[in-house]
């Protein structure tokens, strides 16, 4: 076992892990931050996307020991300080960007990473950015619409269902 230390959602976090312990497992099982979902466990689905030092990564395909000293942000830190939803989260609610909600943490973390680098993406750029995030409910239209809306763009003409 190895002692690992990192910053998670702005607070120091540490724990004993095995070499093989995934960052996703450390977040969920050691820190009880179960908002980070593990869907496929094969780095296909993107439900486990978190930010490590500001960049979106799949927490199921990174070892916890590799995050030593890193600044990790998960879905639990996305809401505003007063508990209200962030702009992206609110847009997902307003535009019905989720049904079962399993993929939503990863979608929100990916969306947030996209908008950080590209504050006004085109619809095409949003769809391409979500290449690694799979949703089995919504058919993506409303997720794309929510992200476009969160970027402050008019979405009235976008496809929806």
């Amino acid at each position: 076992m190895t002692q690992v230390k990192m910053t998670v959602n702005g607070k120091p976090a540490s724990g004993e892990v095995e070499g093989r312990t995934l960052l996703a497992s450390f977040l969920r099982e050691n820190l009880n931050l179960t908002g980070t979902h593990v869907g496929c466990d094969t780095s296909q689905c993107g439900a486990c996307v978190v930010h490590v030092d500001g960049e979106a990564v799949k927490a199921c395909t990174m070892l916890a020991v590799e995050a030593e000293g890193a600044d990790v942000k998960t879905i639990e830190a996305m809401a505003n300080a007063d508990g209200s939803l962030s702009v992206i989260q609110q847009a997902f609610q307003d535009h019905h960007g989720l049904q079962c909600g399993f993929c939503t943490p990863g979608m929100v973390m990916s969306a947030s990473a996209l908008l950080k680098d590209n504050p006004k993406p085109t619809e095409d750029e949003v769809r391409h950015y979500l290449d690694g995030n799979i949703c089995r409910c919504t058919g993506y239209h409303n997720i794309v619409k929510a992200i476009m809306a969160a970027s402050g763009q008019d979405v009235s003409a976008l496809a929806a269902e």
Binding site: L22, S43, L63, E66, A113, D131
Partner: protein, 263 residues
């Protein structure tokens, strides 16, 4: 996954020393290796993470004008920082996997793994790049030795790849949408003294140069120059996504598209 120890060296020398341990395995971004470990297709006793080695990071230009990319450089970094000097290479990096994968995966890992459908080997081979390891420099033509096989010795790691920059180049990828790997992709690079064409995703022997197309394009750089040239479908990968003959056909189509994009 079976359990293993993890070593995190901060220099190439320390990494090489750590790889001397029994059943040690280097890991760069882990975007292929971690899924492989989960499937229990590998069981190293020591995993040597190469991510903390600063001297393997980043991009520069050497005195021969070559673009030198550290083995530990992320796809996302190549996509951004190589865009001005070598746009075809940056464009290739920008379409590997998905954004989260590009924030972990590295050029050295991709080249060392030599997946028969990986993107990078085609750019390395078509550019006539040099693969630099902790021990030596290897020409691309001598580096790739077949499916998942390279000239690397046990414990040898890719520390840098040096790319001569062609006059123009284009990477044309026919994507397999589930895996995001190419079903077939072709990298065409036009240099002053000739054209090089490298194909990935198609052959059971991994990345290869399509020499007939190179000869034709070197004398006439036009998509029409390869009209009528064909690749033999035997020896091509055949799976549920496409037969060998289909892949062979795609090699021609992707090559023509790449050349057309440059004409």
């Amino acid at each position: 996954m079976y359990n293993f120890d993890v070593e995190k060296p901060t220099s190439i020398a320390d990494a090489v020393a750590a790889l001397g341990r029994e059943e040690a395995q280097p890991m760069s971004g882990g975007q292929t290796l971690i899924p492989t470990l989960k499937a229990r297709l590998a069981m190293p006793s020591v995993l040597v993470s190469l991510r903390g080695i600063d001297e393997m990071q980043g991009i520069c230009t050497d005195d021969q004008g070559r673009l030198c990319i550290g083995g530990g450089t992320l796809h996302a970094v190549v996509a951004k920082e190589a865009a001005a000097q070598y746009p075809a290479l940056a464009g290739l990096a920008a379409r590997i996997g998905d954004p989260a994968v590009r924030n972990r995966g590295t050029i050295g890992g991709s080249v060392a793994n030599n997946d028969p459908s990986a993107c990078y080997p085609s750019a390395v081979l078509a550019s006539g790049a040099t693969v630099v390891t902790n021990a030596r420099e290897i020409a691309a033509d001598d580096f790739f030795e077949g499916m998942f096989a390279t000239a690397l010795e046990e414990g040898e790691i890719v520390t840098e790849v040096k790319f001569p920059i062609p006059e123009k180049a284009h990477y044309e990828k026919f994507i397999q949408p589930a895996s995001r790997f190419p079903l077939v992709a072709v990298f065409v690079a036009k240099f002053g003294d000739g054209v090089r064409v490298a194909v990935t995703g198609a052959s059971e022997d991994g990345v290869f140069r399509w020499t007939d197309a190179e000869a034709a394009l070197s004398s006439n750089f036009d998509a029409g120059a390869i009209e009528g040239l064909t690749v033999d479908g035997s020896g091509m990968i055949s799976d549920l996504h496409g037969s060998g003959d289909y892949r062979a056909h795609l090699v021609g189509v992707m090559t023509k598209r790449a050349v057309a994009a440059l004409s």
